[in-house]
């Protein structure tokens, strides 16, 4: 027989957990709480459930409430360091808190918690939202390829042994750890500057570099992982169109012909790529492991 030391009213485990979880995850204290009429009622509940001792019951709950938001903000900051830099600490945290309120974690894993952030940025009303959405999309692509299976690597020597007939029907299999992104803003350029330590924050209003970020300028980037290395290959819109066709499993020659004819929708000046440049790009794509094999 175990000793009973409780004087609190009986509450089931589920009721108690539901109560504490609501208190811990509410964004801004009593005003947003559901189902509790007044601050006085809330305090009565708190005193009913939580031992105070050397720290007030409210302060004890606050430890967990603070931890909930801090942990999720930290998770988003880990996944989106360039976006955090671009927005500045205060603006990024405010963005994260709004995001957390709309997207409470629904999985036991935090690995993919930040996935909807790019989409969410794009719906924000601020002047920086479109650029932020594309930068977030790029950073999420990096996260995705880090967690993606690497897959086989296309053997470039095998390509050299193909007959002309085989070349005409050749389809390439993209690596599972490859993402192709087309942007209206120079997101990949900014990300590289961030990596180099030279990226301006959007909060520096007087900075010409920062303002330039909010001016549309088409760009594209392929993100791919091989082993420990994550590659970011910046592409012209024309090369991005070609790579897009190949990723979509178009036969190589058909893709080249379609691309060369301008049928991909790329404007004529962009489509003009010297054969040597095309060859070099293709070699880069193969050597960086963008393809896993031949279909």
């Amino acid at each position: 027989m175990r000793a009973t030391r409780s004087s609190a009213p009986a509450t089931t485990l589920h009721q108690l957990q539901s109560w504490l979880f609501q208190r811990v995850t509410e964004a801004a204290g009593p005003a947003r709480s559901e189902g509790v009429a007044t601050a006085a009622d809330r305090d009565v509940e708190l005193q009913e459930h939580v031992v105070s001792g050397n720290l007030a019951a409210s302060a004890r709950v606050e430890v967990y409430r603070h931890g909930y938001f801090a942990r999720l903000v930290e998770c988003l900051e880990d996944d989106y360091p360039a976006l955090a830099h671009a927005l500045g600490a205060a603006r990024f945290e405010a963005l994260c808190r709004d995001f957390i309120a709309l997207y409470p974690p629904a999985s036991a894993s935090l690995n993919y918690y930040g996935a909807p952030l790019a989409q969410y940025c794009g719906r924000r009303p601020e002047s920086w939202s479109a650029f932020a959405a594309e930068l977030a999309q790029l950073e999420w692509a990096v996260v995705e390829v880090i967690h993606a299976e690497e897959g086989e690597r296309l053997d470039s020597a095998a390509l050299g042994q193909l007959s002309a007939e085989q070349w005409s029907a050749l389809r390439l299999v993209p690596s599972p750890a490859l993402r192709l992104l087309r942007h209206a803003y120079p997101a990949a350029e900014y990300y590289q500057a961030f990596k180099d330590g030279s990226a301006a924050a959007l909060g520096v209003a007087a900075s010409g570099g920062a303002l330039e970020l909010l001016t549309p300028r088409a760009s594209a980037v392929a993100v791919c992982r091989r082993g420990e290395d994550v590659w970011r290959i910046r592409l012209t819109p024309a090369l991005a169109e070609l790579l897009g066709c190949l990723i979509a499993s178009a036969p190589l020659l058909a893709a080249l012909e379609r691309w060369g004819s301008g049928a991909t929708g790329v404007s004529a000046p962009d489509a003009l790529v010297a054969p040597e440049e095309l060859q070099r790009a293709f070699q880069d794509w193969v050597s960086c492991g963008l393809f896993s094999g031949i279909a």
């Binding site: 000793a3 030391r5 009213p9 459930h49 031992v51 967990y64 894993s109 880090i146």
Partner: protein, 282 residues
């Protein structure tokens, strides 16, 4: 429990595996007995983290330590989580699997924190039943850690140590005794840490944790961000003297220093006993 520590091996002194140390570990092969792997970081990935873990597990013994099992939740057990956990355990040949006596979410939502359980008969029966389910699924003992907590429920009818002792006995599970957590909880809830240790079935200790904590406003925070406090070293010595003879692991999760500092911290443990922990407490 038929055999001491369920027959699990004495792995000696280890440290928690953190990604900032991957390259150092693989290139320098530091002299540590084993690594504890945060299972949740490797369960929903098929990419780079898992590739590093595979390589490290080729050279070192590993054990899995999780934060997402939510064994104390009133929600249903997450069978998908369990399947991933078992697959990871089998993939890296982990010697055992541990998690915390806590809950991390309810009503299908997740807080990603270790929330305290009320020490009631209802919670005891509920958690013991779930531990048995998990052990059946894993076909191995589950090792449960006493978590650091910042609040206790008025509805509790048992003390923390009494609750843990009963849970381990009823579910025939192992204990991961986190000595820092005992120290932190004793301060935060005002109990005697030695009395707490004496109530635990220390023959069930499969693993020991030590870590640093920090002083917050009015309480101690289990931050794993500093060297182990003197009081924790003293409490560890008491735990060992009372029979908690098990592999020892240093956790460091925030403001993570270079690997050499972790080794120096482990050396403090070694210098206290002058031997591998097989002889600790003998």
């Amino acid at each position: 429990m038929k055999k001491k520590r369920f027959g699990l091996p004495q792995l000696g002194f280890g440290v928690g595996l953190r990604s900032v140390h991957y390259q150092h570990i693989l290139s320098e092969r530091p002299q540590v007995g084993w690594f504890e792997v945060l299972s949740d970081n490797y369960m929903h990935t098929r990419g780079r983290p898992l590739a590093f873990l595979d390589r490290i597990a080729e050279h070192y013994p590993v054990a899995l330590h999780g934060v997402g099992l939510s064994i104390g939740s009133s929600d249903e057990l997450d069978l998908g989580y369990l399947a991933e956990l078992r697959a990871l355990r089998d993939r890296v040949g982990a010697h055992w699997v541990s998690d915390h006596i806590c809950w991390t979410g309810v009503n299908g939502r997740h807080g990603h924190d270790l929330y305290p359980v009320p020490f009631t008969e209802e919670a005891l029966r509920h958690i013991a039943r779930r531990v048995c389910q998990v052990q059946d699924y894993l076909e191995a003992p589950l090792v449960l850690e006493n978590p650091s907590t910042y609040l206790e429920f008025k509805g509790s009818t048992l003390g923390e140590a009494e609750f843990i002792a009963a849970l381990l006995e009823e579910s025939d599970s192992g204990l991961l005794l986190d000595v820092n957590n005992v120290y932190v909880n004793a301060h935060n809830h005002g109990f005697d840490p030695l009395g707490y240790l004496r109530q635990l079935p220390l023959e069930r200790v499969v693993q020991l944790h030590i870590a640093g904590h920090s002083q917050a406003q009015g309480y101690l925070a289990d931050t794993h961000s500093a060297p182990v406090a003197d009081g924790v070293w003293d409490l560890l010595a008491e735990a060992v003297r009372l029979g908690a003879n098990a592999p020892l692991l240093l956790e460091w999760d925030a403001e993570i220093p270079e690997f050499a500092e972790l080794e120096r911290e482990l050396d403090k443990a070694k210098s206290r006993w002058g031997a591998e922990p097989a002889e600790l407490g003998s």
